[in-house]
């Protein structure tokens, strides 16, 4: 492996640059994945059958908590990458840890939210609207869950191996993933919740 020291660690080998570019292309695919969900959501939005509509079951408080928690986690992972570029391994691990804790917090609120939907009678089987709502939220939530494990593995590797071109590369790619999930949430927040409660 040739290491180019003029570049930040995460870009320092050819393979690292390929990995980052490849992940960006993957995010392009993720855009389409969520766009398909949104397209379906908009089409099913008013097709509630005998079930409740969005305005009847959405609650602003958990949604606000989720939004601010995820926004903050997106900020802290940005700080983690900044610390990584300053070679401040410890600070980086702290920021990464905070990010994952915030992610966990987000997930807990989302689970609460799902339980709330269950209690008010909005399950997967209720109507096309509830099904697409839960599928869209669930797909995002599954991404966050996967991200928690992925981030944890990266933290362990940095702890064991230090900041190497490989671990820095993984951390940077993970940060892209996490920011992307935040962007998706912004769209969910705006076009599912706020539009529904407007």
């Amino acid at each position: 492996m040739k290491i180019d020291h003029t570049q930040p660690l995460e870009y320092s080998t050819e393979q690292n640059q390929l990995n980052i570019l490849g992940f960006w292309i993957f995010l392009g695919a993720e855009i389409m994945l969520f766009a398909t969900l949104f397209a379906s959501y908009f089409i099913y939005e008013n097709r509630v059958g005998n079930g409740p509509s969005g305005g009847e079951i959405f609650e602003i408080t958990p949604v606000l908590i989720e939004t601010f928690v995820l926004l903050t986690s997106s900020f802290t992972i940005g700080l983690a990458i900044n610390a990584m570029r300053l070679k401040r391994t410890k600070a980086m691990l702290v920021f990464l840890g905070i990010t994952l804790l915030l992610g966990l917090g987000f997930l807990s609120v989302e689970i609460y939210e799902f339980m709330h939907y269950y209690h008010v009678g909005a399950t997967l089987q209720t109507s096309a609207f509830t099904a697409i709502l839960l599928t869209t939220l669930g797909t995002h939530g599954a991404h966050v869950t996967l991200g928690l494990f992925w981030g944890l593995f990266i933290m362990i590797q940095i702890k064991r191996r230090g900041l190497t071109p490989a671990t820095a590369n993984k951390s940077f790619i993970f940060s892209l993933y996490w920011h992307f999930l935040d962007v998706v949430w912004i769209f969910i927040f705006s076009f599912i919740y706020l539009k529904g409660m407007m």
Binding site: W24, A39, F42, F189
Partner: protein, 94 residues
Amino acid sequence: MKELFPIKQVNGFVFSLLLTIVALSVYFFDMSFQLGMTILLVTAFIQAGVQLIIFMHAGESEDKGTIYTSTIYGVVIALFTVFGSLLAMVWGYM
């Protein structure tokens, strides 16, 4: 300590919080559907741009051309898909 909180990212964070609060106005104030949707569309896409450029460093490497092309291409096709599907399945469906 200061170097751990670069001004660019702090500003980005504050800005994204502001955008969220602006978006929230559609919930707290009574307004027409058109105005509400306009606010949501504007804030959501600016918010996405903030993440992309400030936090995701989309433009920092030599591959930025490819990165922007693939992202913009993805967004354009995503919009075609969303609005085309709405056209076929809702607006134009008799």
